[in-house]
């Protein structure tokens, strides 16, 4: 299945463009941020680029570009619907489950690409800006990369659900973006406060939360304090990290099942 999927996408120009764009935008963003040198008494911006805080910082920045990866998945899968190559592959002997497995491999591959991108950039910037290196500080917090991978998979699986149901690249991309930017936020806003954190986009996007800039940049000064954005009212209350991750996995499973049913039950 890996060979089949690779044969399909390796020569696809849009695939290369999106990967290069994701990589370039991510590196450009972290590079530009790294050039900012704000040092006020008690606050050092560069702490965001030092081990171990670099991992959540970079995972958060990389999460901005998950939408690009999701659009890529929508386009690749959508082309197979609109160009009817999926139909031809099924007639050639590929099962619908195998086709979905191929797309699963693609999604995992793209998520791994993101993880590798963040890892390499993290190590490079971390080694440049960290003064006191130790194995403990380098690898501490690195588990956020796994969570980032789950997040990237979540974005892309939701994209797969949109394209398998809608079967039009344009419509799927527009509705997907609208769902992220408008539809779910509006629905959330209409719901009671305690329900709001449980919505899928909210859960998945919160896997890599906005870094606690106050704590990180202040170094040890606020390290053990409770001064977080949530506690001082700058950000709404969120679920526990473990709850968020479990719920994200549940949502990914639900999206995958719905995608499977949409491919299995409908005509091609």
């Amino acid at each position: 299945m890996i060979g089949l999927e690779w044969a399909k996408i390796s020569s696809y120009g849009f695939f290369r463009v999106i990967l290069i764009l994701t990589l370039s935008l991510f590196l450009l963003t972290v590079f530009v941020f790294s050039r900012i040198d704000i040092s006020l008494p008690g606050f050092t911006w560069r702490n965001l680029f030092r081990f171990p805080d670099i991992w959540p910082s970079f995972a958060w920045v990389a999460s901005w570009f998950n939408l690009l990866l999701a659009i890529l998945v929508i386009t690749i899968a959508g082309n197979e619907f609109t160009g009817r190559t999926l139909r031809q592959q099924i007639m050639t002997g590929l099962s619908r489950e195998e086709w979905l497995a191929g797309k699963g491999i693609l999604i995992i591959g793209l998520a791994l690409f993101g993880v590798v991108m963040v890892s390499i950039a993290g190590f490079v910037f971390g080694f440049i800006y960290t003064r006191e290196l130790s194995l403990g500080t380098i690898f501490s917090n690195m588990d956020i990369l796994l969570v980032y991978m789950v997040q990237a998979i979540g974005y892309m699986v939701l994209g797969m659900l949109f394209i398998t149901v809608l079967r039009s690249n344009t419509l799927a991309i527009i509705l997907y973006l609208l769902y992220f930017i408008m539809i779910e936020p509006i629905i959330r806003g209409l719901c009671p406060v305690e329900v709001r954190p449980w919505f899928p986009v909210k859960i998945i996007s919160h896997l890599t939360p906005f870094p606690e800039v106050l704590k990180v940049t202040s170094g040890e000064a606020l390290d053990n304090s409770n001064m977080t954005f949530e506690n001082i009212g700058l950000m709404p209350r969120q679920l526990e990290d473990s709850t968020t991750t479990i719920m994200a996995l549940v949502y990914i499973l639900v999206f995958a099942i719905l995608t499977y049913l949409a491919v299995k039950k409908k005509d091609l």
């Binding site: 050639t92 619908r96 005509d267 091609l268």
Partner: protein
């Protein structure tokens, strides 16, 4: 039995695309699906190739319930060729080979067979329609499948292309492959197929061997001094099953046991001068049009 369908039915809104279509295709036969546009040929092929879901009915390939691996034994071209636009011919065929599990060794053979070897590195979207159709044929004979399912294989081709495609199909037929072919080009069905089913509005109107369907009534073509009167008289007398005037020429299908001599004698008895009388073999096209007309 290669393929059996049992009362396949499918509708799109109020349109009944397939209505209780039951077919039996034996090994080694060339089976034609004939019908005007919208008769349900493509829908039937889509169902048996598992890309469309039937509302009712079932089908078996090789005597078994259909499963994806079955389709690796079948080469199919339903509607237009569908390949990855941005990939070369060779890469597209590699994808087919990977799905079929045949390896890449067969690619050269099918490219040679379809005359596409020189274009193997060209992108699919740079090909002419005829070449796309030839690539489709190349892909369906990859791995030497036992059955070929073809939907209008000569569609949109020029006469040279039609001849080339037909040659490839005939070669496959001679190799003993089972061919299931939907077409509205009756000449093609007549030349390629041994069996035929005629569809109209999703229903099977007739099915059987082509030569059996062809051996029906001969048509008597008559040009007389008073064709109208002769037509009326022959029908009233029950000497003909059917009589029609076409361009002032009378075409009749005699009743059982009625020869051209009896009809000639009847005309003489009624003082109708017969200028011309000859027997015309009914072609599949005429029978097809007869069957499918309102």
């Amino acid at each position: 039995m290669i393929l059996e369908t049992f009362k396949l039915s499918k509708s799109y809104g109020t349109i009944q695309a397939a209505d209780d279509v039951s077919l039996e295709v034996e090994k080694g036969t060339a089976f034609g699906l004939l019908g005007p546009n919208g008769s349900g040929k493509t829908t039937t092929l889509g169902i048996i190739m598992s890309v469309l879901k039937p509302e009712r009915g079932s089908f078996k390939w090789f005597g078994k319930e259909p499963e994806p691996s079955v389709y690796k034994r079948i080469g199919s071209l339903v509607e237009v060729p569908n390949f990855f636009n941005y990939l070369s011919l060779r890469r597209n065929l590699e994808i087919v080979a990977r799905i079929r599990g045949t390896g890449d060794s067969d690619i050269k053979r099918v490219l040679d067979l379809t005359g596409l070897r020189n274009r193997s590195s060209s992108r699919y979207d740079t090909l002419s329609l005829g070449m796309k159709q030839r690539l489709a044929l190349a892909s369906i004979i990859m791995g030497n499948p036992e059955v070929l399912v073809l939907d209008e294989p000569a569609n949109s081709l020029d006469p040279e292309g039609i001849a080339e495609v037909r040659k490839i199909i005939m070669e496959q037929k001679e190799q003993g492959k089972t061919i299931i072919m939907a077409s509205h080009i009756l000449d093609e069905v007549e030349k390629v197929c041994s069996h035929v089913a005629i569809l109209k509005k999703g229903k099977t109107l007739a099915s059987g061997r082509v030569n059996e369907l062809l051996v029906t009534d001969d048509i008597l073509v008559i040009d007389s001094g008073n064709n109208e009167l002769l037509k009326k008289g022959l029908l009233e007398k029950g000497l003909v099953k059917k009589a029609e005037l076409r361009d002032n020429i009378l075409e009749v299908i005699p009743s059982s046991g009625v020869s051209s001599g009896i009809i000639n004698a009847y005309a003489a008895e009624k003082d109708i001068n017969v200028n011309q009388l000859y027997i015309k073999k009914s072609t599949l096209e005429e029978q097809f049009l007869e069957l499918v007309k309102e």
